[in-house]
Structures are given as structure tokens and as C-alpha cells.
């Protein structure tokens, strides 16, 4: 058996150590406190796009626990309890996500800034990513403008429904899998057409998402259109970070989580229980803040020009 050896070389493991140290220094100089939160939790996310790991407990009466898909909920509970600005370098787990740019167990850098909006946070993400990759300059593209620029399609227009988008996807890509709803078709156009098209654009922030893709971002008005105050950071056409101007209204948040469960029902997936501790914390009051999660493995892979995440992870999924 030869796969007892790491999947990453010594140089890359050293580069990982240096990057982690660089990140800690970045936040230390900016007075952002490092925190640690549990990995095995009683609540999880209803997001229909994320498959979770459930862990059965020995005591048959205790419900399963969930390996965290991100430290978001626990960190928001810290924020609600008065932590101030915080960051965390944490393991996160998403089942079924395995490939060149995915490992089911991966490392996330997540941080929150009090009193900031998503635009201010994008600028901080750009400094951190720019430092790590040795590049400067970045651009912001509203989701709508990017779709119009690359595909000539306005994703906010009323006539652009699922049937219309199916036609666009078929024209651009030939075959399209059956049973994709409107958002899944937008996702397909994003990953198959737009990501390759922005490969040479450097650091790109896509922002102002359709409300159906708001996740836990708040809603804002831009040019008389309601959009989600959410951003995705792309480098070389690859997604690196996802951030929100956080939804602090507890009623709106509960509605958004219900809507995600609604999408699960539509796709024939079982609903997931809503995390009551998160809702209680939000009722107590989440301070006005912006937060972002950034994939450390992907950032490192870009820094050292690795083709696949396995080359920057000590023991990838097949060797773990």
C-alpha cells in the first residue's frame, strides 16, 4: 500500500503553513479575533445544493449530529453574544463534493466585520487574496450585467423564465440534463459559460444576486430592482469566496430558511430542521455586519499553481 504517503509534496505543505500564518497575521494586525466553534452540531443548513454528513449517536434516543458545512451558524451566535469582529480557519464537510476543485473535507476561512456592508468586505477580500496571489486590481460585476455581457441574457427580465433559459443553455451547450429548475439553469450557465469566459479577468466579484439565490444575505434595492447583497469572488474563473451583507432581520431570515426548505421539497429532497439556536440568536439581535467564507485549499492551489486540490491537501479524500 503506497497511499500512506501524503498527496501533497513537502513544498506545498510548507506553502500551506506559510499561508495560514500569513492569514493569521493579516487578521491580527486588523484586530479581528480568532475563534473556534464545534464541528459536530445539532443544527445544519437547509440549502438544497449542499449534501451533509449525519453522524449517528450511540444513545439511540439522541438525534443525529451534523458535521458542519461551514462555521457560519455558530459564528453568528458568537456575534449575537457580543464577540465583535471574528475570524476562523475551520474544517468544513460536504458530502458528494469530490473532484479537481472539491474535497468533501476542506478548510474554510470565515470572517465577520461589524458595521460593514458587502462592498466594504469585498475590498478586504481583495487585499487578502491579492496578498496571497501576488496580484492587485479587481473588478465588481453585478450578476445581471455579467449575464448580459457574456450571454446577452437578462436574468432579471420577466420573460426570461425556465423555458427561455433552457433554450439558451441548449444553444450554448448542446445537451442539457432534464429536470433543471430556473435557478439550476442559471447555475449551469454560470459554471459552464461564464466561469470559463472570465478566466483571464483577474480577481472578479460577482454581486447583486437574484433573490432566489440570496441564501442568508439581506435584500437591497439597486436601480429599482430588489437584489441580494451577496457576492462571489472568482479568480481565474474559479469560485474562491462567498460573502453576504448579513440578513439581521430574524423574521426575514426565518422566511429565507423556509424558502430553502421549499426548494428542497420542489426537488423531491427531505426537509431539514431549522436551527432553532441560530434563530434564537438572531431574535436576540445579530449586529449589522458582513461575512464571507473563503476556500483555503483553492487559494493555496492557485498560489502554487496546483492542478488539483489533492496536491495541496496533506491526505486527500481517497487517502484520509
Amino acid at each position: 500500500m503506497s497511499d500512506w504517503r501524503p498527496s501533497a509534496s513537502q513544498e506545498r505543505l510548507a506553502a500551506r503553513a506559510a499561508l495560514t500564518q500569513q492569514i493569521r497575521h493579516f487578521f491580527h494586525t486588523r484586530d479581528v479575533m480568532e475563534v473556534e466553534t464545534p464541528l459536530l452540531c445539532q443544527g445544519t443548513v437547509p440549502d438544497p445544493g449542499i449534501e451533509i454528513f449525519s453522524v449517528p449517536m450511540q444513545d439511540a434516543d439522541s438525534p443525529d449530529r451534523y458535521l458542519q458545512t461551514s462555521p457560519e451558524f455558530a459564528m453568528k451566535r458568537l456575534l449575537a453574544s457580543g464577540s465583535g469582529d471574528i475570524f476562523q480557519i475551520a474544517k468544513a464537510f460536504r458530502q458528494e463534493e469530490q473532484g479537481r476543485h472539491h474535497n468533501p473535507e476542506f478548510t474554510l476561512l470565515e470572517w465577520y466585520r461589524l458595521g460593514w456592508d458587502h462592498v466594504a468586505l469585498m475590498s478586504e477580500v481583495a487585499s487578502l487574496v491579492g496578498d496571497a496571489l501576488g496580484c492587485d486590481g479587481w473588478q465588481i460585476w453585478p450578476y445581471r450585467a455579467l449575464f448580459i455581457e457574456i450571454l446577452g441574457v437578462d436574468p432579471f427580465a420577466e420573460e426570461v423564465d425556465a423555458i427561455f433559459l433552457l433554450g439558451v443553455a441548449q444553444a450554448k451547450l448542446g445537451s442539457v440534463p432534464d429536470g433543471l429548475d430556473r435557478d439550476a439553469l442559471l447555475d449551469m450557465l454560470m459554471s459552464h459559460c461564464i466561469e470559463p469566459a472570465i478566466r483571464d479577468w483577474g480577481i472578479v466579484f460577482v454581486t447583486d444576486f437574484p433573490l432566489s439565490q440570496a441564501a442568508l444575505a439581506r435584500t437591497i434595492e439597486v436601480a429599482n430592482t430588489a437584489v441580494a447583497a451577496r457576492f462571489e469572488c472568482y479568480v481565474a474563473g474559479r469560485e474562491l469566496a462567498n460573502g453576504y451583507w448579513e440578513q439581521s432581520d430574524p423574521v426575514a431570515l426565518a422566511t429565507q430558511l423556509d424558502a430553502e426548505n421549499g426548494r428542497r421539497r420542489q426537488r423531491g429532497l427531505p426537509e431539514r430542521p431549522v436551527d432553532e439556536r441560530l434563530l434564537a440568536a438572531q431574535r436576540q439581535g445579530l449586529p449589522d455586519c458582513a461575512g464571507v467564507a473563503l476556500g483555503i485549499d483553492r487559494l493555496l492551489a492557485m498560489q502554487v499553481s496546483a492542478d488539483a486540490l489533492t496536491e495541496v491537501i496533506s491526505f486527500d479524500w481517497t487517502r484520509a
Partner: protein, 190 residues
């Protein structure tokens, strides 16, 4: 046959797509931020040899294809079928023109070929990477004529025409790379 899910699509897996047997070449998992996960898959259609690129929703399944590769010895042709034999069981398989395809020009009796069977009958014939064949016809060496880059056409026992160096003569046995159709060397004397 069993069904395979997108996360089992490994290179070399044989599956049915649009009622055609295909071999998986590549499988890339793509997933935008918070959204729908997809698998972009490259497959070779084992009948036509064409490469197809398809996108599947992660978790979609395809039926496995009853395809296997075996090594058989070439025996003879009756013009319609090319017959190959399993040297241990003496079982014979007849491959039609579609299955033999380009490999026809490299068919030599008693040589071993890789035969791809689909539902028990030959779908494709793959020659060994290197094969030794006799030259049946070529011009005598042209002295001093370097205008052709030092090579000339030669017809082999199978009918294939390859370019050989000027010093090679009729009746010699040469070694060919069947993947490129290029001359490699004079055959080693055995």
C-alpha cells in the same frame, strides 16, 4: 446491467448513453457557489470512436454497458467477416467491417489483437502498438536523391503503405508503430 451514479464515473467505465456503448474518459465535478452540482463528462462512443461531452446533474445515473476487452488471435477473412480465435478455448469471433475499421491494414495471421466485445460480439479491434510486417513492394534505393527527405513508400504484406528509409529493400521485415503508421526500425532477426 447495474446502474452507475455520476460519482462512480471513473475513466474506463463502460456505460450506455443514447443506446450506444460508451467508455468514460473524464469526469469533472462542477458546482457554483451555493447552487446545483453538475458533472461534465467526456465519453468515447465505442461504436463510432467519436468523443462526446455531456453534462449530468450530480446524482444522475447511466446503465452499465456489457462491454469487455479480450485478447484474440487473427485467423482469416472471408471478405465479409474477419475471424479471431481464442487460443485457449478455440472459440471463434467474427468481426464485421465496422468493427475492424482502420485496423484492417495491420491484420496479420497468428498475431494477437485486443477485441472489444459488446453483448458478446466484436465492436472494435485494436492492433498491438508495434507490429512486424514484410515489405512486398518498394522501389530500389534511390542513390543520392535527398529531395524526398530520405524516405520512399513501401507496400506491406497486409496492403498498408508506409514510408521507409531509402536503404530498405523488398522482402525485408520492418517494425511499424500502428498508432502513427510510422516505420520504427528493421525487425530484429529471430
Amino acid at each position: 446491467m447495474a446502474n452507475f451514479s455520476t460519482n462512480e464515473f471513473k475513466p474506463g467505465l463502460k456505460v450506455m448513453l443514447d443506446s450506444e456503448p460508451c467508455s468514460i474518459l473524464e469526469n469533472e465535478f462542477v458546482k457554483p457557489g451555493k447552487g446545483q452540482a453538475f458533472n461534465r463528462v467526456k465519453l468515447r462512443n465505442l461504436k463510432s470512436g467519436r468523443v462526446w461531452e455531456r453534462t449530468f446533474k450530480s446524482g444522475d445515473t447511466l446503465e452499465g454497458a456489457d462491454v469487455m476487452d479480450i485478447d484474440l488471435e487473427y485467423s482469416y477473412t472471408d471478405g465479409e467477416f474477419w475471424y479471431f480465435m481464442d487460443p485457449s478455448s478455440y472459440e471463434q469471433y467474427g468481426a464485421d467491417r465496422d468493427a475492424v475499421g482502420e485496423s484492417e491494414k495491420w491484420l496479420k495471421e497468428q498475431e494477437r489483437y485486443e477485441i472489444t466485445l459488446y453483448n458478446g460480439s466484436p465492436l472494435a479491434v485494436t492492433p498491438p502498438n508495434f507490429i512486424e510486417l514484410e515489405i512486398t513492394e518498394t522501389d530500389p534505393g534511390l542513390k543520392g536523391d535527398t529531395a524526398q527527405g530520405g524516405s520512399k513508400p513501401a507496400t506491406l504484406a497486409t496492403g498498408a503503405v508506409v514510408r521507409v528509409p531509402l536503404f530498405i529493400t523488398e522482402g525485408e521485415v520492418i517494425r511499424i508503430d500502428t498508432r502513427t503508421g510510422e516505420y520504427v526500425s528493421r525487425a530484429s532477426k529471430s
